[in-house]
């Protein structure tokens, strides 16, 4: 099969041309389909997601999660270990990998640093590495014990794998939104920005000590970005990502106490958000993630401070990228941060359209629209602030290893495209 388009993004830049593929991108002749101005993107790489499988499958499981990912154009996703039980053993890693084979999703597993993610004893990192984890994280829980964190980093360094750190001091981190004028005005207890940067600073120092690759997850403050920028200049092995929602929403958006906007780390102040944009611009921030975190409506439809933190993100990722691109960041830059750049952090051979790589790609109509509803979302959960809204940009179809796993590209031909 050969697809032609005026807008093919190869992971670095747009060009006009064609892609041909079997299981991988190859040079061959075959049937042609001209997609006109519709974009062809590499299958997106989301390095931070919660599949809720096993143990919390009312919210999501690998199958619904995979469909939601495909609907959002994501073909490679990382499963964070905060499941029930936690992904803290080789057995759990093997279980998930086997189950993932039935979904077509290129699922990568992140193993817990400590047993049950409770920060007390190291989990069997060597065995989990043997089973193929891509990194370690106690996601959601910052490992308070710096001594334990040091040894975890030593193992991670020996294994050549990163520690993915959710940086938040638990004593300063008690609260429900970012501390500032708006938390004062709305009367919601605030989490100061330094709850994050204090922990970022510790991780940078431990990386200096152990030489381990430390990856800071969902950076959300100016001070964190500055610390990481300086650490990179100093040659520290540090990378980081930002959650797409933090580029779209700000602390002031919580004026309506909508629990579907409640997330941890909380939405940034406008000052912090500017720093996040600058961090993307100068590549201090390496990747953009969704932090896809499904919750049931009944869990979210409670009072603001009683509601859990988390928003789904797979299915609106490209829509939000379009929104962010209108706020001044280049679309190529943003697309790179959800394809080739995250792949580079973890040394994965995905996220690009290049001969020999798996034929994972997305056909995306930037002029299309879709209505976000419980019916149109493929996720089992619908906890998104976009619920009920119409969004610009629509994934027409998603391919994994040359096979269409979502959508109906055959129906598309020149002329009828925008009628869909």
């Amino acid at each position: 099969m050969i697809f032609e388009s005026a807008k093919i993004f190869d992971g670095e830049r747009f060009y006009s041309g064609e892609i041909s593929f079997e299981k991988t991108f190859v040079q061959r002749e075959g049937d042609r389909l001209d997609l006109g101005d519709v974009w062809i993107l590499p299958g997106l790489v989301d390095t931070h997601a919660h599949f809720r499988d096993p143990g919390q499958t009312k919210r999501e499981d690998l199958f619904s999660g995979a469909m939601a990912a495909f609907h959002g154009g994501i073909t490679t996703a990382f499963a964070m270990p905060n499941t029930t039980p936690a992904i803290d053993s080789e057995t759990m890693v093997i279980y998930l990998k086997e189950k993932a084979k039935k979904t077509n999703l290129d699922l990568k597993i992140v193993g817990a640093i400590t047993k049950n993610r409770d920060g007390k004893e190291l989990s069997e990192m060597l065995r989990m590495a043997r089973a193929g984890v891509v990194g370690f994280s106690d996601d959601g829980n910052f490992l308070d014990d710096a001594g334990l964190a040091r040894h975890a980093m030593e193992y991670a360094h020996e294994l050549g794998l990163p520690i993915i750190s959710h940086c938040q001091d638990k004593y300063l981190g008690k609260g429900h939104m970012r501390e500032g004028w708006f938390s004062t005005l709305y009367g919601i207890s605030g989490i100061p920005d330094v709850a994050e940067s204090i922990s970022v600073a510790r991780e940078i120092e431990l990386s200096y000590l152990t030489k381990a690759h430390i990856h800071i997850a969902h950076v959300s403050t100016a001070r964190s970005v500055n610390l990481i920028r300086q650490a990179k200049k100093d040659g520290i092995n540090v990378t980081c990502d930002v959650c797409i929602h933090h580029l779209v929403f700000k602390d002031e958006d919580l004026y309506d106490y909508d629990t579907y906007k409640k997330i941890n780390p909380p939405f940034p102040t406008s000052h912090d958000q500017r720093a996040l944009y600058e961090g993307i611009e100068d590549d201090t921030i390496d990747a953009i993630i969704t932090d896809h975190a499904p919750y049931l409506n009944e869990e979210k439809e409670v009072e603001f401070q009683s509601a859990p933190f988390g928003i789904i993100g797979f299915e609106t990722l490209l829509n939000e990228i379009i929104i962010v691109s209108k706020n001044g960041l280049k679309i190529e830059k943003l697309l790179k941060k959800v394809s080739s750049d995250p792949a580079k952090i973890y040394g994965l051979e995905v996220g690009r359209i290049k001969e020999g790589l798996p034929a994972n790609f997305v056909i995306f109509d930037p002029e299309g629209e879709w209505h976000v509803s419980k019916e149109t979302l493929m996720s089992r959960s619908s906890n998104t602030p976009f619920l009920g809204k119409r969004l610009k940009g629509r994934v027409i179809s998603t391919f994994v290893e040359g096979r269409q796993v979502f959508g109906d590209v055959e129906k598309i031909g020149k002329g009828i495209l925008h009628l869909a």
């Binding site: 501390e179 500032g180 004028w181 938390s183 004062t184 005005l185 709305y186 009367g187 919601i188 207890s189 309506d256 106490y257 009944e298 439809e301 409670v302 009072e303 603001f304 401070q305 009683s306």
Partner: protein, 302 residues
Amino acid sequence: MSIRGKDLFDVDDLEISDVKEIFERAQFFKKHGFQKLTSLKGKSICTLFFESSTRTRISFELAAKRLGADVVNFTASTSSLNKGESFKDTVKTLDAMGIDLYVIRHSEPGSPMMMKKYTNSPVINAGDGIHAHPTQALLDAYTIWEKFGDFKIKIAIIGDILHSRVARSNAKLLKMLGADVTLVGPESFIPEYFENYGVRISHDVEKSISESDAVMGLRVQLERQSGGFFSTLDEYNEFYGINSKRMEIANPIFMHPGPMNRGVEVMEEVSDSDSSVVEEQVTNGVFVRMALLDLILGGVEN
């Protein structure tokens, strides 16, 4: 502008003209004393108290009954919440029974707004977490208006500002009405963000009181000690307490939303002195709430 049929989540839902109208109506009711009226006859008002508060609930209940309304009370400790029913289902259930107006008190900020997803009846916020307490601010402002005749005054609000919905609503309303407001207390209780209300921040309690026409004390709760907001109540009292020595320089009026911790934020020599208007605040509270209910539910014209 009229507030008929509207919600009151916080004071910034009101225009200055609305505030004037509320004050005039409250003054009218006060002139008539505590006689029973019938302007809300046939209306059902529900007080929903998810957080215990005897004084505010009774004040609203009296206000509603004096206007002839039927009042039902929901308190979380004696009701379905104990059986695990959600906030959402509680409101939906009550609404199905036909309530004309809700008064809600809740420990969670934003819960009055959240309620509006499940009811079309007007909602009055009787205190939501540390966010807002608009009827307290209205009765405080009414009391000041009665005492001074206008708002060309200096007022110091002293105590745990950070955890106070009274301080937040008062800062907004008093600024709106033109008063000069200073928030006073240790830094741990007044984050710098409070300056955005257009108020001043001071850590010098003596100087602040000596420059004020009115002083409002706020409750300092013992439970804040464990969070490190202060060391001992005794030390707090010595450095930030409102005592007669600090009051005698300018002799301002003393206000307090209650309940008071005598010996902590205020000494009895002040709270029970002639400069104290605490009981008048409570009395005015009923009239201000009568005025609000009457104007929102559209009772007969006076």
